[in-house]
Amino acid sequence: MPPSLETLWLVPALPLLAASLGALTPRGGRRFSAGVAIAAMAGALLLSCLALRAALLDPSAHLVHNFRWFDLGNGAVELGWLLDPLSALMCVMVSLVGLLIFIFSLGYMCEDENFTRFFCFMSLFAAAMLGVVIANSLLLLFISWELVGLASYLLIGFWFHKPAAAAAAKKAFITTRIGDLGLLLGLVWLYDSTGSLLLYDGGNGVLEAGVLGNLGTMALAGGLAVPTAISLLIFCGAAGKSGQFPLHVWLPDAMEGPTPVSALIHAATMVAAGVFLIARVFPLISYDQALAADPLHALTVVAAIGAVTALLGAAIATAQSDLKRVLAFSTISQLGYMMLALGVGSWVAAIFHLLTHAFFKALLFLAAGSVIHAAHHEQDIRRLGGLGRTMRTTYATFAVGMMALSGVPFLFSGFWSKEAVLHAASEWAVSQLPLYAGLVGVVLTAFYMTRLLCEVFWGPARSPEAAHARENTGVITVPLVILAIGSVGLGFLGTPAWPWLESALTGRPVAPRSLLEGGGLMALSIVLVAAGLGAGWALYGRKVRVSADAKDPFSAAAPRLFGFLGARMRLDELYAATLGRLNTLGAALADFMDRWVWGGAVGFLALLGEFTGSVNSEVDESGLNAGFNSASERIRGAGRAYSGAQSGDAQGYLRTVAVAFVVLALLVLLGGGR
């Protein structure tokens, strides 16, 4: 067993240790807790770099270390961790971005009184996320998955004294739980039908050919092949975590948390966990394409959901006025791109986009955090502005991130990863719709990012906070610069000319493609990006907003559409109207039934009784009364007798039990013992 595989479990263990130490730290020990957390992340980064080196020696191998947790009856519950290029790359990404964000938080959270608690939670989150990444057993993955959810709940609600934050935390937790229920069902079903939850287990893992073969031969379940059904259930969990279309509503609200949290959890790592999960179980989820008898492939659903999400998120982002919400919706749409790539069968492109997106989106969020920190927590882009002159470093890095996200050609990583996604989509045999959705998304992305840049950094300062904003200290700007370098340089890992990433991930040498093949598509997307940038500049850059309450040009152009998008397509209202309304309706129905149907019947019976009573009263008066009275007396007496047994005397009860036991035992004995 290579040493870096032996030590792989330390990668999540170190942040976990830091979290427990932070939990022990009294409030005063700010420097200690932060120091421990950052040291632990640095150690994790070091170990994961070693692991990556070891994994790249033989990219096609899956080095696993499994062990038995405990026996359950005659089955065994097994856990384990896995070292392959995918997990190693994710480890490096998570710990690197996490480290930078921890350092950033030193500056950002410096005046918060719960500094130590913040770092404790952050370390807990990092530990759980790394656990998800290295897990070789779906059970371990699920445990860490839930821990991730818990940590995100704690961090979104970090300022729980704000009602909005508390509500957002609850919303995020519950919404993701809906997805996780599906995931849990899928895991149970998988364990039931394969008897194992290990991913790779020397031929017995659920991702290996033999087990998949058995899975494929199973009977259809409700018109679906068993692998398809399980994959769809697993995808529910992924969709919930990475904010895919039906379950995306929690992500924008999650922006109530501190900005480093938004950067780490809701841009770089946790929301990517869903994508990672699908990429991890890709052999399982794509297996059903071999089955002819199958009406619907799981990947088709994934692609459809991804396309819808990409388009919807980008569209909504064009009309938000809160700095962080724009970024949140752009995150949703980018995650949609990744799911789209997975759905069309190129998980390498998805992971590539995941990595680059982690960098430039974390960069954007941190830059936004720097702006917010400087502008005394002013997040409304209409009241910002003019910061380009006062905060040059933030401005430059934000511009880099913006260009990377909107896919400005050739220099920026976002361009290459997005090209990979679109290229994969264009090669999908089933349908071209995802490609078109992606292309439209490209335009929208360029548009809203330009809008954001112009509104925040150009023109005059439109509020005293913005006017007083000054550049932040190095502890905040240095991570920005590093991330900016990353989000430029990372792109060259996956250019068609030098497909290092693909060969590393798949373990197969991949022949470099010339830029010309598929160049048409590239040219088209370049044109679209230019169009988006131009439109944004035309609307927002040419003549910059002068005052906070000036009308937004877009809404001036199309007020109805702008309002619709600004209200997030009224999806929250829709949910309230359908699901919430359903409850109310049911209650109202029950109420009606009670009040009128049953009540009416009872009333009718009562009337009947009264009538018969009045008829019979004569008879009663004459003879029956005495009998009835005595009877009711007896009944009351019996009631008293019984209530006497309920004496509240514990020993009396014990005595009764003893007597009953004796009686039963006698019955058994005299009955011959059987």
Partner: protein, 103 residues
């Protein structure tokens, strides 16, 4: 009488003594101790069957006895806490007087 029967007789008498005490005394600590005796009788049975009966596996009876001891410890802890809580409400620990919930 075979040793196994002797052991079982021993445990059943122990159980009966515990039951009698738990029923007769009014002091709730003594009642608790009577229950403890009954539990002990149970684990005596485990050991007796492990020693003389055909064992399922060489350690099963011992394992169950250990579990029984652990559970008994937990039971005592909670029981004594309850006794102290009762004492806080009614300034004594006489069980027959603790019957506020009678019907």
């Amino acid at each position: 009488m075979s040793p196994l029967q002797l052991c079982l007789a021993f445990s059943s008498l122990l159980f009966a003594v515990g039951l009698t005490g738990a029923l007769a005394r009014s002091n709730s600590i003594l009642v608790l101790l009577g229950l403890e005796l009954m539990l002990t009788a149970g684990s005596v049975n485990f050991i007796a069957f492990w020693r003389f009966g055909p064992p399922a596996s060489p350690a099963t009876g011992v394992v169950f006895a250990i579990f029984a001891i652990a559970v008994a410890a937990a039971e005592t802890a909670v029981g004594l806490a309850l006794v102290i809580a009762v004492y806080r409400h009614q300034r004594n620990i006489r069980l027959p007087e603790a019957n506020r919930l009678k019907g």
